[in-house]
Assembly symmetry: D2
Homo-oligomer: 150 residues x 4
Amino acid sequence: MLPFTPKNPDFREIATATFDTQRAMRTLGISLARLEPGEVELAMPYSPDFTQQNGFVHAGIITAGLDNACGIAAFSLMPAGSDILTVEFKTNLLAPAKGERFMFRGIVIKPGRTLTVCEGRAYAVQDGVETLIATMTGTLMSLPRRERVE
Amino acid sequence: MLPFTPKNPDFREIATATFDTQRAMRTLGISLARLEPGEVELAMPYSPDFTQQNGFVHAGIITAGLDNACGIAAFSLMPAGSDILTVEFKTNLLAPAKGERFMFRGIVIKPGRTLTVCEGRAYAVQDGVETLIATMTGTLMSLPRRERVE
Amino acid sequence: MLPFTPKNPDFREIATATFDTQRAMRTLGISLARLEPGEVELAMPYSPDFTQQNGFVHAGIITAGLDNACGIAAFSLMPAGSDILTVEFKTNLLAPAKGERFMFRGIVIKPGRTLTVCEGRAYAVQDGVETLIATMTGTLMSLPRRERVE
Amino acid sequence: MLPFTPKNPDFREIATATFDTQRAMRTLGISLARLEPGEVELAMPYSPDFTQQNGFVHAGIITAGLDNACGIAAFSLMPAGSDILTVEFKTNLLAPAKGERFMFRGIVIKPGRTLTVCEGRAYAVQDGVETLIATMTGTLMSLPRRERVE
């Protein structure tokens, strides 16, 4: 479906600012690696702080990265003054989250005035080799911006 | 479907030990509040470290709690010597993750030799009032235990 | 979350009429067995016409029943003049769809102005015994009614 | 991930035979249009018998096509003597199922000894134009073949 034409000419600045406001992303060490209209890539180094019982990164953490990649991808196509909300997502875990770092790619499959559907892919990177470890399909909702809760 | 008869008489000790081995749970401040055969409750205090752009807890973090509640519930019914793997899950976000603390309840809907299906509910607690904020349906897989990756 | 107060006093008549307009339901032999605000039960006899390779009812047909139970449950709480659309659903198949007849129960988990989240359960009935064979979580959307396509 | 090497040299004959054994596919008018290792395309003409209240094809029927495309794609990579079972799937409905005919494409994302993960896409075709109307992610399970229930 790509490429998309963004409705908000300042989408890059706004989407980056929204990403930066998420303390969860900072805590998890997730950064914005690439941002195009309807397409996002996030990066996360391995950290033992977020592992499950076998030493792999926890599925919930992988999901946090995927959800954010999808959310920012959807958000990049929304008009100015929008806030974004995740309605639902589904994750399939395909391989252990084992690697030096992780990439989360989100793309818009179907943009909409109210609902946007995205797909995400998570990759583990080890010695330069990428392995697909998880997929997401998610539904995001656009709504008028609200103020941050203090 | 409850109550279930556990196949492993030491299920409580083993499930608790597995939970405790997950560094992600410690980092997120999630603790095991209740454990019965096929039924688990986890608790998490609010922390600004895991918030999204509106100051609510990030959907991925809520999903980490739900996934773990489902995983430990499924694990509690597995025979001795099992390891557990999440195959997939689906989360619906129903209300903002806004509260003093959060509860994650997981129950087994259908136990199986290979696959177990669970349902999870996440609640925000504020001033003693619980609000349902998210649901999960997840598939967990039993497999022979492997050694921890160092 | 039940019981719910319907916004449309004629919900029963409107929901029944909408159900009856669905030719797919007639073709599949699915009928409306019970309708309360936010809660629906549908019934379907076994038919060899809708079986898969092992003689069980096809997962897509079971999903059609579940989706409709969820949709009518959501619709029963919507204001007059609404049309309803399925946004997404997720089905877990728990046991073979093998029986004399099948029941599909849908309940509203979270009603909303735009989006309503429902859960469905499908049961096979054989010799008076009900077996849970599938679950659904689905998101339904309310939108202004449109005219039927001829 | 494509192309895949099938484990069963007779995959084409076996998968076709399995497809043909499904009476639901015949009743719905769904036929096998293309079959490659890990990749399947099914076709279905529009029929008013399977419509919902707006005259569009019912979401459950679209799901039946998607599930079967995914199932046959997964089955094509399984060893001889396997039967296949759908564990779960998730469908997002993106646009009304309105067209002269419909195409269901399923591909394997991750083959496995026990579980295979597939993605499906449903398209409506009108005047030679294809519109993406639905997506699926599904998990399929391989198990030893059982005899058909009479």
